[in-house]
């Protein structure tokens, strides 16, 4: 029997191996590397003036590099339609044996991780104390420092892994759903250029994501945190010949970095206060009597929690840092499903849940979390109501559902947040993959206004997406119902929740049902608005795509049955497995009791039944309105758009948040600031230097003047004086020996006369 528990460090390494093979040697597996050169229209090769003058080996390489000819002959652009043509296999490039190796290796590595994860979780479940830590070596080995209270501690972090009930859930989701999406991607990306590169990045992503959820300390978690951000950047920009893809990738990375800045400060504050970044140490410190719940004021712990939450708002796309996620849909659809729905974007939820010992002590920050979550939920849902791009609807839906998770975290219902994370991973991955299947069938079309009546043409996609939509809408019996209803109930009943937050959550539930059924109706039902060209190619996706869809659909049906409401106690404890499994991670500790002392969520059975009824009713109303507006009387939606033009425009333009950000930060701060400072460099600093130079030159001119006229003048004046005074002398210095002789005679005569006279 393998000791899976001690092998948890291997779990991330399998996909890392896959990534390394792909990225280092992958090019050899790819039979069509040359199709990667994307050239702007009308651009042809121009000899560079300098090309040959420096003995460079241009000419030697020409024969080998296929891209050159390509540039000449096929100066075409890749748009997504073109790529999907390729994906149909119309080009006749068959799977090479090497290509199948890629298709086996990369999903295989994730499957291996999944197997090891299941093994480890089962062995963890058998242990009495469900915490297992594996430390491999010291990673950050910093030096001593003074903590906030003056004690000494050492700055450092291990390369260590922690398996507990929370990370168990996460690794199962990441490797399980991740594996299904890898399989799907084999079909979806099958004929894309850069197949190996795609799988290399995808495996690299799984590595970092597993580092994130398995790390035993915040610093190593941050490694995964940044790493998934990098992979997200690379995968969003996978079609990097498209400017929009490059822009979206960059935006995702930078917006995330804003959150990361908060996260870093949060970690540093944690070091200063608790002296460690290791989860178990931090929790132990926070649960010690030295710390009290900050019920009265916004203290240092509240600040710490807030900084961590800022990090979470970046990664998990919460207001105001959600703006990158909708744009991230530029990436290939499997990426949207894996990274931007099921796993990476939930990292913030995971991190806050992981820090529950801290958040339990900080009711004011928790309240901020709840409010931001609720606001994001309804805000994003409102935008989702009117979007026409099928993936964008799902993107805003994801932002909205993540808002639900934060609402749950904010009201202290940590296990419920993780539960919703779990069910959401199934149905949102399913929805995205279905949308991918639709797009695949539609030869790359993503605008729902050009879809309709696809139900019978792609039946598997339709039925699985139907299940996903029922699940997210909150119809009893499917996964989304259980987790969402529990969030709503906790928001209503928790001492940290409120009826106002509940109302927002409820409204969001109705909107969710509406936009999902709007999507279903526009895509699958009613009259076909498909273009003639696209209609010719509509076809159901291959089995590598439909099988993952079916498995995820199954998960979306059954996934919720491990967390049924307390009301349904008739089902027995097994149906409440999720809560009991996570209980050890989220036990409230003594100091946090104070917060809950105000009132343990007293179970009012009647109210809970009533609320459950209300939320189901709301969901059904949402579905019905959508069906009425987009199916029964499709003309109604247009007239409503017209009658509420301003609101519709605002929603369609996503409340103009992107425009405001562009104005404030991109143009205002960065460019303006940069320009200003460039001017400062040239004007002030160089000005000062040049000024000093000028002063030097001026003074040197002055000294030259001084030298010329005063110093030299003095010299010359004395010379002149000497000259002038010597003039008479010169008059008589004629150089004639005779005259000298005469002078001598005269002189001698004068002397003689003088002496004679004196005598």
């Amino acid at each position: 029997m393998v000791n899976f528990l001690d092998s948890i460090w291997l779990i991330p390494l399998f996909p890392l191996f896959g990534a390394a093979v792909m990225l280092l040697f992958g090019k050899k597996f790819d039979p069509q590397p040359k199709s990667e050169v994307a050239v702007a229209p009308g651009v042809t090769y121009v000899e560079d003036d300098h090309g040959h003058s420096h003995g460079h080996s241009h000419s030697h390489d020409h024969g080998h590099d296929h891209s050159h000819d390509h540039g000449h002959d096929h100066a075409h652009t890749h748009d997504s339609a073109h790529e999907h043509d390729e994906a149909h296999g119309a080009h006749g490039h068959g799977h090479s044996a090497l290509r199948s190796l890629v298709s086996l290796l990369c999903p295989g590595m994730v499957l291996l991780s999944f197997i090891f994860s299941v093994g480890a979780v089962l062995q963890l479940a058998a242990k009495s104390e469900r915490v297992h830590e594996v430390i491999q070596f010291t990673w950050l080995a910093g030096l001593p420092f003074h903590m906030a209270d003056g004690r000494m501690a050492t700055f450092g972090a291990d390369w260590g892994f922690l398996l507990d009930p929370l990370s168990s859930v996460m690794i199962l989701v990441v490797t399980g759903v991740g594996f299904l999406i890898h399989v799907y991607a084999v079909g979806y990306m099958g004929h894309e250029a850069g197949f190996y590169r795609f799988f290399g990045y995808l495996n690299l992503f799984v590595f970092f994501m597993l580092m994130l959820v398995l790390a035993n300390n915040y610093a190593l978690l941050f490694v995964g945190w940044e790493g998934v951000g990098l992979c997200s950047y690379l995968l969003i920009g996978f079609y990097f010949h498209k400017k929009s893809a490059g822009d979206a990738g960059k935006k995702a990375f930078i917006v995330n970095r804003i959150g990361d800045a908060g996260f870093i400060l949060g970690i540093l504050l944690m070091l200063a206060v608790t002296g460690s970044v290791r989860f178990l140490d931090v929790n132990a410190a926070l649960q010690s009597p030295a710390f009290h719940a900050e019920t009265e004021a916004f203290g240092i712990l509240s600040l710490m929690a807030l900084l961590l939450f800022i990090g979470a708002t970046g990664k998990s796309a919460q207001f105001p840092l959600y703006v990158w996620l909708p744009d991230a849909m530029e990436g290939p659809t499997p990426v949207s499903a894996l990274i931007h729905a099921a796993t990476m974007v939930t990292a913030g939820v995971y991190m806050v849940a992981r820090s529950n010992a801290l958040f339990q002590l900080t009711p004011s920050t928790s309240h901020i979390v709840a409010v931001v979550g609720a606001f994001t939920a309804i805000f994003a849902a409102s935008i989702g109501l009117v979007q026409n791009d099928i993936k964008r609807v799902l993107a805003y839906s994801t932002v909205s559902q993540l808002g639900y998770m934060f609402l749950a975290l904010g009201v202290g219902a940590y296990w419920v947040a993780v539960f919703h994370l779990f069910t959401h991973a199934f149905f949102k991955a399913l929805l995205f993959l279905c949308s991918g299947s639709v797009i695949h069938a539609m030869s790359g079309e993503q605008d729902m206004r050009y879809m309709g009546a696809l139900k019978d043409k792609i039946p598997v996609t339709h039925w699985t997406m139907f299940i996903g939509s029922v699940a997210i809408a909150g119809i009893p019996g499917l996964a989304g119902f259980f987790s969402k209803d529990e969030i709503l109930w906790q928001t209503w009943s928790s001492p940290l929740g409120s009826h106002a937050l509940y109302a927002v959550g409820l409204a969001t539930a109705g909107m969710t049902a509406f936009y999902m059924w709007r999507l279903m109706n526009m895509t699958f039902y009613g009259k076909s608005r498909v273009s003639a060209e696209a209609a010719k190619h509509i076809h159901e996706s291959p089995a590598t795509m439909t099988i993952p869809l079916s498995v995820l659909a199954l998960g979306s049906v059954l996934g919720g049955w491990i967390g049924v409401p307390k009301l349904w106690s008739a089902f027995g404890d097994g149906f409440r497995l999720f809560e009991t499994w996570l209980e050890p991670v989220f036990t409230s500790h003594s100091a946090a009791e104070a917060v809950h002392a105000a009132g343990e969520a007293h179970h009012d059975t009647g109210t809970e039944w009533l609320l459950m009824g209300v939320s189901v009713t709301i969901a059904i109303i949402g579905i019905s309105i959508a069906r009425y507006m987009y199916h029964t009387r499709p003309e109604l939606s247009d007239s409503m758009e017209a009658s509420m033009k301003p609101l519709h425009t605002v929603l369609l333009n996503k409340w103009y948040v992107d425009e405001v950000y562009d104005f404030l930060f991109v143009n205002g701060l960065s460019k303006g600031g940069g320009l200003l400072m460039g001017a400062f460099d040239r004007g002030v600093v160089d000005g000062a230097v040049n000024g000093a130079g000028w002063v030097t030159r001026l003074s040197s001119s002055a000294s030259i003047w001084w030298d010329t006229w005063i110093v030299d003048g003095a010299v010359r004046f004395s010379a002149f004086l000497v000259k002038a005074l010597s003039y008479p002398v010169r008059l008589i210095q004629t150089g004639q020996v005779q005259s000298y002789a005469l002078y001598v005679v005269v002189g001698v005569a004068l002397f003689f006369g003088y002496f004679m006279a004196g005598k």
């Binding site: 030096l143 950047y233 400017k243 930078i254 800045a261 400072m677």
Partner: protein, 509 residues
């Protein structure tokens, strides 16, 4: 060998230079091969320094001492501690990288070119080795001359302007520094009745506080110009833009570190009270933070690729000086590590530019776009260099930045809060640069047939990438090496910092 190890390291390039003089200037390839051999030998002889260095020992190691000008108290006194050991390794590695990267870059005056680099190499190693202030000053000034010629002779269109600006700026700084040195020198004589430039002796001088502050500012100007700290940075973009690739690489990787090294070796130990003066520290921290943010913002509007990286140095070096003036172990250790990191990542970025410049002879960002399609290997190397510079975890930059931020946070939380914005902006300007150069479609016909990296060019990058990964994944050896010298520095500036560590360690990991 151990007792003369440092001299061997110091004079290997000079010995190479002596032989070079006898190679006729027309046999360019012989000169190139010889220069690479010498540079590689320079690296090889420095390896024992790393392997035989005793991490546990405090004080200087491999010390060599000889009288030079006894009447003035000048000695040939060299030795290393952990800080200078790391910087010397950085120098010898980059000596080789610079030589290797120059193979195709220089066609004119090849002999003189390599001669200048050999002279420069000895000068830089000397700066990091010298334990006698006079000797230090000699090497400090010696570095100036070859660099002046490298920029001025093999540089770009405005090379003369840049070279003279570089020369005058640094010379102005050096002159003030010399005044500071002389002040200490004569004070020592006044207090102890002897003349000496030995640092260990000069540390005994007690200056009256006002005087100490003056000497501090004199040193500061000298070192801050070299770093360069805001607002003394404007020579840097010009020098970088005009310098040939190898010149830029050495300038960024090693030369700038002479300034930060100066703070660590001279300002802090010789003038501990001024260095710990609340007002002075506040000014320096603010200048560092301004440098971090300012440099990054200016990067955002650069149209010239090389100028962008030059300004990014201002930002990164801001982190280094911030770490120093956090005046605590993690700040200083992080700073030294970040100096190495900046050498690796910015060195790589300048090499990346050099590769493209050799092919296209322009640094205008707008001339490029979509290069990743044409040069896929180059795209990966550039991406790694960029991410290392942007401080992505598991690459080197993160470890340094994070450690510095911890030190800064400990010293003053507001500093850290401002400095952390450099992390955001760093990602912004680098990703934007990468996008404009590498991603998108090929929009310029001249770029369609660019050859990808050659084996020689890969050989230039691979050691640096490996180094970046090593520091990112396993930085412990570096912290071990830095532990002792940093402890000495902190104890010197903040006596008693480490006290009570043992007693209070309980309850902490």
């Amino acid at each position: 060998m151990d007792q003369h190890l440092l001299s061997i390291i110091l004079f290997t390039p000079l010995a190479g230079l002596a032989v070079l003089l006898f190679i006729p200037g027309s046999s360019k390839n012989v000169i190139r091969i010889w220069a690479n051999v010498v540079a590689f030998a320079g690296f090889l002889v420095s390896l024992p320094l790393a392997t035989r260095f005793d991490k546990g020992a405090s004080g200087f190691q491999f010390v060599e001492r000889a009288e030079w000008i006894p009447s003035l108290g000048v000695q040939y006194l060299i030795g290393v501690d952990g800080i200078s050991m790391l910087l010397i390794m950085l120098t010898t590695v980059f000596g080789f990288i610079a030589a290797l990267s120059s193979w195709n870059a220089v066609e004119e005056r090849v002999k003189e070119y390599y001669a200048m680099f050999m002279l420069l190499q000895t000068g830089m190693i000397g700066v990091f080795l010298a334990l006698d202030f006079f000797l230090f000053y000699v090497f400090w000034e010696l570095v100036l001359v070859p660099m002046y010629f490298i920029i001025g002779v093999w540089g770009g269109p405005r090379k003369l302007y840049a070279a003279i600006k570089f020369f005058l700026y640094t010379l102005a700084g050096s002159v003030l520094m010399l005044l500071g040195i002389l002040a200490l020198y004569f004070q020592y004589h006044a207090q102890f009745g002897a003349y000496t430039f030995e640092i260990a002796n000069l540390m005994k001088v007690v200056l009256e506080p006002g005087m100490e502050r003056w000497v501090f500012w004199a040193f500061f100007v000298g070192f801050a110009i070299k770093v360069p700290m805001f607002p003394f940075h404007t020579w840097l973009p010009d020098a970088h833009v005009e310098a040939p690739t190898a010149g830029s690489v050495i300038l960024a990787a090693v030369l700038l570190k002479m300034g930060t090294y100066g703070f660590l070796r001279f300002s802090l130990p010789l003038l501990p009270r001024a260095s710990n003066d609340v007002e002075i520290v506040r000014i320096l921290a603010i200048l560092s933070i301004v440098g971090i943010i300012y440099g990054a913002l200016v990067c955002l509007m650069q149209k010239d690729w090389k100028k962008l990286i030059a300004y990014s140095s201002v930002s990164h070096l801001g982190f280094c000086t911030l770490g120093i003036f956090a005046l605590n172990p993690n700040g200083i250790a992080g700073s030294v590590l970040q100096q190495i990191n900046h050498g690796i990542s910015t060195g790589m970025l300048f090499l990346v530019i050099g590769v493209m410049y050799e092919r296209r002879h322009t640094r205008e960002i707008s001339e490029y776009g979509g290069i990743a399609h044409v040069m896929p290997k180059y795209a990966i190397v550039f991406a790694i260099a960029m991410l290392s510079s942007a401080g992505l975890p598991l690459l080197n930059g993160f470890v340094g930045e994070f450690t510095i931020l911890q030190g800064a946070f400990e010293a003053n939380r507001v500093w850290a809060a401002f400095a952390v914005s450099g992390v955001i902006l760093g990602a912004a300007y680098l990703l934007w640069l990468y996008q404009r150069v590498m991603l998108g479609q090929v929009t310029n016909g001249k770029n369609l047939r660019l050859p990808d990296l050659s084996a020689r060019e890969m050989a230039v990058f691979l050691p640096l990438i490996a180094w970046a990964l090593w520091i990112g994944v396993y930085p412990k050896p570096y912290f071990d090496i830095l532990e002792k010298p940093v402890q000495q520095l902190v104890e010197r500036v903040k006596p008693g910092y480490y006290q009570g560590q043992a007693a209070l360690k309980a309850g902490v990991r």
